[in-house]
Amino acid sequence: MLATATTATLVGVDGHVVTVEVHTSNGLPSFTIVGLPDAACREARDRVRAAVLSSGLDWPDNRVTVNLAPSGLRKGGAALDVAMAVAVLAVTEQVPAESLRGKAFLGELGLDGTVRGTAGMLPLTAALSDRAVVVASEAYHVALAASPRDVHAVRTLSQLASVLAGRAPWPDPPPVPPQPAPVPVPDLSDVIGQPSARRAVEVAAAGGHHLLMLGPPGAGKTMLARRLVGLLPELSRQCAMEATRVQSAAGLPLPNGLATRPLLRSPHHTATVAALIGGGTNAIRPGEISLAHRGVLFLDELGEFAPSVLDAMRQPLEEGAVRVSRALGTCSFPARFLLVAAMNPCPCGQAGRPNSCRCSDLVRQRYLRRLSGPLLDRFDLRIQVRPPDPDQLLDGIRGEPTAAVASQVAAARERAARRGVEANVELTGSQLEQFAPLTPAAHAALRERLRAGLLSGRGLHRVRCVALTLCDLAGDEPPIDAQRLAEALTLRASVGRLYAPATAA
């Protein structure tokens, strides 16, 4: 006797269709799973058998073999449990075999027959988009986000068996979860007395420019990073799908289905290459750079990260994606994120103030040498963040709130979209020539800086890009005037030439 059911397994952040074939034959009662299952998948033996029996259904008292096709593909996780169970029910004729046709089953089984959701529901459902997908109630909204042909939610195996046997209709889908009270977004108006940091955060959000903040602990670097996320616009459907795919595959909670807000990821500086870039022993999992896809990756204490970890980030930063190759196989993860980094310029806290900083040049250089030039070069915005003056804190005038700035950011992003990119940071050199012309005065100022050795050819391109974002934020049309250019230069290089290879040393 033979029956088949369709399901899917996760490889990286992509679902792959798997056909579960169940065969029963005469012999001593046994239950074997073949077809490269991993540990969690092999343990399905015990879960499936217990779930079928607890649901008041019969377990075949002969030899049961489950094959997971294609056999060459490694199957991981517990999402195949339900498909195995229904195929067993079909082979024992407890449900009609035809009822499984055109359907796919995703879910983990509890010993009592409960159907549970697993990590990766979105990519798994997406892989099965040509059929009706049966999922656990709790995973219904995530699965729905993948817009398959049809989604049915079930709570238990017995409920599913009744539906398949034609004894009951599909249960009603679970209600849309009440929108959680909006998490109070940290507001930009809390930033007092730090005009350049505030400005840099706005520009980073508008143009997608990577931001490096130098400042002593307690200067508000983390606070600024949190406010940056609040400034970013809602994700477009396409972007939200990409981001949710990764988050779902990594098993992050997705109560509302699609993740429409950009995510802030802030890994600790002890993170390994595998944690940041992706990898793992049992399965290739996306790293922090992919979890921050279309969001913000905040690396606090950048100087404390292992240099090898930071340098591994360079290529994904350039390409917006990363290919991770392991013995298990090769996976491609999206990794288009806004990098925000913070570090302390020196140990004394005076942050290099001439005449006050007591750190020797050697100490400072040793600290900064951990960052490679090519990585530093990726930062279009490099600013000093100093703790605000106490007087400013007490009676400082609050700046524009997040809501006001966010609308400027959204408008700037719209202008970028008209240029055919998500944000200005993606513009190429030739596109900049076209979209960011310079006034004669700005042109002259740039030439003078290049002559004086204060700017390199590589830096020129990035400065122009930031200046274009400044124009977009103000709602001005190019050409870019000298003042915008000067501001872009200041935001890029105010960290100093010692740390900024873009300005010639």
Binding site: G352, A445, Q483, E487, L489, L491
Partner: protein, 389 residues
């Protein structure tokens, strides 16, 4: 030191001297103790034999104990063994090694510039040099200062260096980071004579960031050291180096110095040798000018112009230069630029501080700073803006 007769005798004496110089932990004071009343050949023989007279002379120096003398005797014994095997006099191998590197040796008491050392309380026993020999006919001015200089100090050091070089005056300095190196570099770039005195062997570049400057001084000027090849930089060797700077210069100018900097050692050494000391006034709020302002308060002559230094030397001033200035650029025109400069006068500021103090937007402020930077009025390092004039 006895008169040197034949060439061979001179070589033998030099060999013994360089062998003594190369002993570990051998410094100027110890060498002097060793060579008082005996020449190098006699000293090395007596030390090798462990004579009581030499030992007593050495024991009178601070930090010399019997184990150190034992180490030295061992070292000398092995030098004699090497000499016996090769058949050359003691120290011949060291002399050859220095000659291979293009290093000349100068026994100050016998050299052309002997008058410089005649009345010196602590003359070096032997100087290692690269480049041009010191010409006593060329006027010499020491330009020294802190390693952690401000933008103001940098500008002054540059202008003094190039101004002195243009007047054909040699700039004597310590080739350190900061004021010393900047003044030397400016003098070199103007094509003037320079004398750099270093505190380590001539092959041991310190600080490593000055490697190019070091090589340029050796090529176009004079690079001097009291230490043989291979001697690493050590803290005590720098004050000793400073006394040579003080001795070599006719006028010492301190550009910027904290109240307890190494430059103050040079000042003391210069005062001891009756060399006039001049100081560049700085803002009283700047820690880097605390030492120089103190010197001025104590009666040092102020340096407001290269001509002040030239006058102290008894040289004519520059006829073509505008009077009383180190050559200021045109005053900033925009009112905001002036306002920014006023704020910077009180000390270094960050961009944020300037924005809050002047109450202007970042865009305007950035263009103002950019103008000031390009016209040389302000400079920026590590996110801090400073007034450069």
């Amino acid at each position: 030191m006895s008169a040197v007769g034949s060439w061979d005798a001179e070589r033998a004496e030099l060999g013994a001297l360089i062998e003594l110089c190369s002993l570990p932990h051998m410094g100027p004071a110890r060498l002097r103790a060793l060579l008082t009343g005996r020449d190098a050949l006699a000293a090395i023989d007596q030390l090798r034999a462990g004579r009581a007279g030499v030992r007593a002379a050495l024991r009178s120096c601070r930090g010399v104990d019997e184990p150190l003398i034992a180490t030295w005797r061992q070292q000398i014994a092995s030098a004699f063994e090497r000499a016996a095997v090769s058949g050359h006099p003691v120290g011949a191998d060291l002399l050859a090694a220095h000659a291979r590197e293009g290093i000349w040796l100068s026994v100050p008491a016998l050299a052309d510039a002997a008058e410089i050392w005649e009345s010196d309380p602590e003359p070096p026993a032997l100087l290692f040099g690269q480049g041009i020999a010191v010409d006593p006919q060329v006027r010499r001015v020491g330009v020294v200062g802190t390693r952690r200089c401000t933008a103001y100090g940098r500008t002054v050091a540059q202008q003094l260096g190039s101004g002195l070089a243009a007047a054909g005056v040699a700039v004597v300095s310590g080739l350190a980071t900061g004021i010393d190196g900047i003044a030397q570099r400016a003098a070199l770039d103007t094509g003037g004579p320079v004398i750099g005195v270093v505190g380590s062997g001539l092959d041991q570049v310190y600080p490593a960031s000055n490697r190019t400057l070091w090589a340029d001084v050796a090529r176009h000027g004079t690079l001097l050291s009291e230490y043989p090849l291979g001697r690493r930089a050590a803290q005590w060797q720098f004050p000793a180096r400073n006394r040579i700077v003080a001795a070599l210069c006719e006028v010492l100018v301190v550009v910027e110095s904290g109240s307890a900097g190494g430059s103050m050692y040079t000042v003391d050494a210069a005062a001891e040798r009756d060399r006039p000391v001049m100081a560049v006034p700085g803002p009283i709020t700047s820690a880097a000018s605390a030492g120089t302002n103190r010197l001025l308060a104590e009666g040092c002559a102020p340096v407001c112009d290269v001509d002040d230094v030239l006058a102290a030397l008894g040289e004519p001033g520059r006829a073509d230069a505008p009077p009383g200035s180190l050559g200021f650029p045109a005053a900033p025109a925009a009112p905001l630029d002036q306002q920014v400069l006023d704020e910077l006068s009180a000390g270094p500021r960050t961009l944020d501080e300037l924005a809050l103090l002047t109450g202007t937007g970042l865009g305007e402020l950035a263009s103002s700073l950019s103008r000031l930077q390009l016209s040389g009025w302000a400079s920026e390092a590590g996110g801090w803006w400073e007034k450069a004039r």
